[in-house]
């Protein structure tokens, strides 16, 4: 129960807090051990000092009184002990004889009293019953409290051994066979020392606590600043992006790992929004194509009526000049409508590019000659900075000419009557394959095409496989974009996933029998997708594993990049994303708003991309990228 509660708290706290907690716990343990060891050694050394002092004092007292004892000058011995013992640092000095009677003492009241052999001062020698005759120096001291609650006292026992001078002395007080004649007992109060020790303990404890506190605060501060805050920003950014706010960026603070992460995160969102835009655009164009075809079909019949009748009337009323003018307008406008419908249909058809080896530089020169005469009238200069070694691209020269003509006319329109400059430059660059690889051809072993333009996914023709599940059969449509994972399956609900794949034309199996999905272990399909060999994948819902080894191995794709820049009025940022949309036009009556949408379609059909950069008042640059080996 309690464990769960702790676990919950642990899981719900932030990484920064956990990190700080870990650092602080480590510091607490280390500093506590250090403080404990330090306090112990401090106390021990203070006590040792007192002990040394006591031993030295005992020895001094013994030596200074020895002579008087031999001469049996008892009053002198007494006086010496009394004087020495009255010092503040000494509690008491006394000498006891073998029988335990106090003979001399700094406390005169004690003299003549018997000492209990079980008492603290006698215990060290008499503990074992038979008195010891020799006592090591370290064993001579004892620390005790005379009464519970009183301060500690250190005592030192110094045995007074029998010596020849003792038994030969004139007093004949001591027989020769005695080893120990008595003991000198010096006791010193430890109140001061204990006070020192307590003060030391307090100091070390305060130091340790401050150190831990300071460490926690500093660690916490830096963790919050360097880790928690940037991570929180990242989390917030992912939340926003998940919510569809793809334009959100994180401030890139430093060049450390989190800074790099922020940078790559921003780059990722940028790519994501670009990819989404392209997808949306593809989708829009595809549905618009269908719409345009439908509209053209519907509008053609009434338009035929208008055109036929009006041209017929025009012919029949040659003798009525008053009618002729009006009829001419009707015929002219009807023919104009026909041209608009035709351009719509051209757009809807997005005619498949008829690709050949195309020389981009030559195409640009040709496009320039077509529209160039209006440049000189408008005082527009055109500068071409074309790389002479530009590789040829596989492209439909006619379509590309249309692209550049359209871009040049747009640029000239943007520049306006004041005149300006159009710059065309070229370069070659290499880009990674990633989601750029598209299945454009897919065949079964009998060479039947699997491409289905009738069911596009994300605006691109899909790959169609016949599938059989436990509960029926149907068709599986796969996205043509390698790794995009988009698929549509019309197997009945609850029939389980597809188990058998086959060519819709000849029914030949497309099951990849030798391979279970490396991700989920499911059944996999395989078909040939020229020019990059076998395309393998798993159709299990939510798995989406795919492998197109040829595309992976093809690695980076070489692109020719062409930039068409003008010094025109520029485009507002809000409008930049709209300009490739069909029917978006700033030219009013002059344009249909299809030009850039058609260009977009052409470039997309060539496996390339087109993007735009613009600054209001400074000019606009269109960037066209075309794959060299498409």
């Amino acid at each position: 129960m309690e464990e769960n509660w702790l676990k919950n708290i642990w899981h719900s706290t932030g990484t920064g807090f956990k990190l700080t907690l870990a650092v602080c716990t480590t510091a607490l343990l280390t500093i506590s051990v250090f403080a404990y060891v330090n306090i112990r050694s401090h106390s021990a050394s203070l006590l040792a000092e007192v002990e040394r002092h006591a031993n030295q004092l005992s020895e001094s007292v013994r030596l200074s009184t020895e002579y008087d004892m031999l001469l049996n000058h008892r009053d002198r011995v007494h006086e010496s002990i009394k004087r020495v013992g009255n010092q503040r640092s000494i509690q008491r000095i006394r000498v006891m004889n073998k029988a335990g009677m106090i003979i001399y003492s700094s406390d005169a009241a004690e003299i003549g009293r018997m000492v209990d052999k079980k008492g603290e001062s006698c215990y060290m020698c008499h503990a074992a019953g038979r008195p010891l005759e020799r006592l090591e120096i370290k064993d001579r001291t004892r620390v005790f409290r005379p009464a519970p609650g009183s301060s500690r006292i250190l005592g030192t026992i110094t045995p007074i051994y029998n010596a020849p001078s003792c038994w030969t002395a004139a007093c004949h007080a001591h027989p020769r066979d005695r080893v120990v004649l008595g003991v000198l007992d010096v006791t010193m109060p430890l109140a001061e020392v204990d006070k020192d020790i307590r003060r030391g303990q307090l100091e070390i404890a305060v130091f340790a606590l401050s150190a831990i506190l300071a460490l926690s605060l500093i660690t916490g501060f830096f963790v919050k600043r360097l880790v928690a805050a940037p991570v929180a920003e990242l989390v917030e950014a992912t939340r926003r992006i998940a919510g569809g706010e793809l334009g959100h960026t994180i401030p890139e603070r430093a060049d450390d790992e989190l800074g790099l992460l922020a940078k790559s995160f921003n780059k990722m969102t940028q790519k994501l929004s670009e990819a989404r835009l392209q997808l949306v655009q593809s989708d829009k164009l595809a549905s618009l194509g269908r719409l345009a075809a439908g509209v053209a079909h519907e509008i053609n019949n009434p338009l035929t009526g208008v055109l036929t009748y009006s041209s017929f009337l025009l012919k029949r009323t040659k003798d009525r000049p008053d009618l002729q003018e009006d009829l001419k307008v009707i015929v002219h406008e009807a023919i104009r409508s026909r041209e608009i419908v035709k351009s719509l249909l051209d757009f809807a058809r997005q005619s498949v590019p008829r690709k050949g080896e195309a020389d981009i530089a030559a195409i640009i020169v040709r496009a320039e000659t077509v529209v160039g005469n209006q440049f000189s009238l408008k005082n527009i200069k055109m500068v071409k900075q074309l790389d002479p070694g530009l590789p040829k691209v596989k492209a439909d020269a006619g379509q590309l000419e249309q692209v550049f003509m359209n871009l040049f006319v747009n640029a000239a329109d943007a520049i306006g009557p004041g005149g300006g400059l159009i710059t065309v430059s070229s370069s070659v660059l290499k880009l990674p394959p990633s989601a750029a690889a598209q299945v454009r051809k897919a065949v079964c072993p009998k060479r039947h095409s699997l491409i289905d333009a009738g069911t596009p996914i994300a605006g691109k023709p899909s790959v169609r496989l016949k599938v059989k599940g436990s509960g029926g059969e149907g068709f599986l449509h796969l996205s043509a974009i390698y790794g995009a994972g988009g698929q549509l399956c019309d197997l009945p609900r609850g029939a389980g996933g597809p188990e058998q794949f086959a060519c819709p034309d000849c029914g030949l199996s497309l099951n990849n029998k030798n391979l279970a999905c490396p991700k989920c272990g499911g059944v996999t399909y395989a078909f040939e997708a020229p020019p990059w060999g076998m395309f393998e994948g798993c159709a299990v819902k939510g798995c989406g594993w795919q492998r197109w080894q040829g595309a992976d191995e093809a690695g980076h794709v070489e692109f020719v990049e062409l930039r068409v820049s003008d010094t025109g009025c520029g485009i507002e940022t809000d409008n930049l994303q709209k300009i490739f949309e069909p029917f978006y036009s700033t030219k009013g009556q002059k344009g249909t708003g299809l030009g850039l949408a058609v260009i977009w379609g052409i470039i997309d059909n060539h496996g390339g991309t087109i993007s735009v950069e613009s600054k209001v008042g400074a000019g606009t640059t269109f960037i066209v990228r075309l794959p060299v080996s498409a």
Partner: protein, 250 residues
């Protein structure tokens, strides 16, 4: 005895049939109208016509099926296919299936009349077997134009002799320029006949024009004299020749 009229027009849109009727009637031709392929076919059982104008996309029996059925019934009347769904592939296919010509909607009365006259004349010439034989290895787009693959990979393109003779004599010829793109089934030249009618020449292949026959441009009569040799129009660098030749007749 079958009833006889000049033209049968079949379209599911009454505005079209009535417009065609009006325009053709003004040219002195009698016109019958039907609103579907099936009705048109049943009309053929008791009537005969000089020309049929048929829509391509209709509910029920469409233009292509009408062509097939008419051929099965042994009807030799020439058929002009009109289509509002102006996909060139459909137009090319209908020509291969026996249509004499193709007219894209919407059309003007002049374009319609020109197409009708041309078709009637062409059919007459065909019946007289007056057309010079088209040489082998020439691929034809109906009787309108031809393409001949050359050894260098280029394609020679010209107008069919029946087409030219049905509009002859030519007053002038409007041609494209080298470098221009052509698309199979779209107009690549306009031949203007003596009476001022403009007749589009539909291109049999797609590609880029490499060379224009200057001699033919200078002297359109060359097309009438030598339609299959010196009267060629363009040398084209084709973009997808094999696929497109498959849609032509030989």
């Amino acid at each position: 005895m079958k009833k006889r009229a000049d033209i049968l027009v079949i379209d599911d849109e009454p505005v079209i049939t009535r417009a065609v009727q009006k325009v053709c009637a003004a040219e002195g031709m009698s016109v019958d109208m039907e609103d579907g392929g099936a009705a048109g076919l049943s009309r053929l059982e008791d009537s005969s016509y000089g020309l049929i104008i048929c829509d391509l996309m209709m509910p029920g029996v469409g233009g292509e099926q009408f062509l097939a059925e008419a051929a099965r019934l042994g009807v030799s009347t020439p058929v002009i296919i009109a289509t509002g769904y102006a996909t060139l592939e459909n137009a090319v296919a209908s020509l291969a299936h026996g249509a004499i010509d193709f007219i894209p909607k919407p059309f003007t009365s002049e374009e319609l009349v020109a197409a009708v006259r041309r078709a009637l004349r062409c059919d007459q010439l065909r019946r007289e077997a007056a057309g010079g034989a088209c040489p082998a290895q020439y691929h034809r787009l109906g009787c309108l134009s031809w393409a001949k693959a050359e050894n260098e990979g280029s394609v020679l393109v010209g107008a069919g002799d029946l087409f030219i003779r049905s509009i002859a004599p030519l007053k002038s010829l409007e041609l494209l320029r080298p470098g221009d793109e052509t698309i199979q089934g779209s107009a690549c030249a306009v031949a203007v006949s003596e009476d001022g009618d403009r007749h589009p020449v539909l291109c049999p292949v797609s590609g880029r024009i490499a060379e224009v026959n200057a001699a033919a441009a200078a002297n359109p009569a060359l097309l009438e004299k030598e339609p299959y040799s010196d009267g060629w129009l363009y040398r084209v660098l084709p973009s997808s020749l094999q696929e497109e030749l498959g849609r032509l007749t030989q």
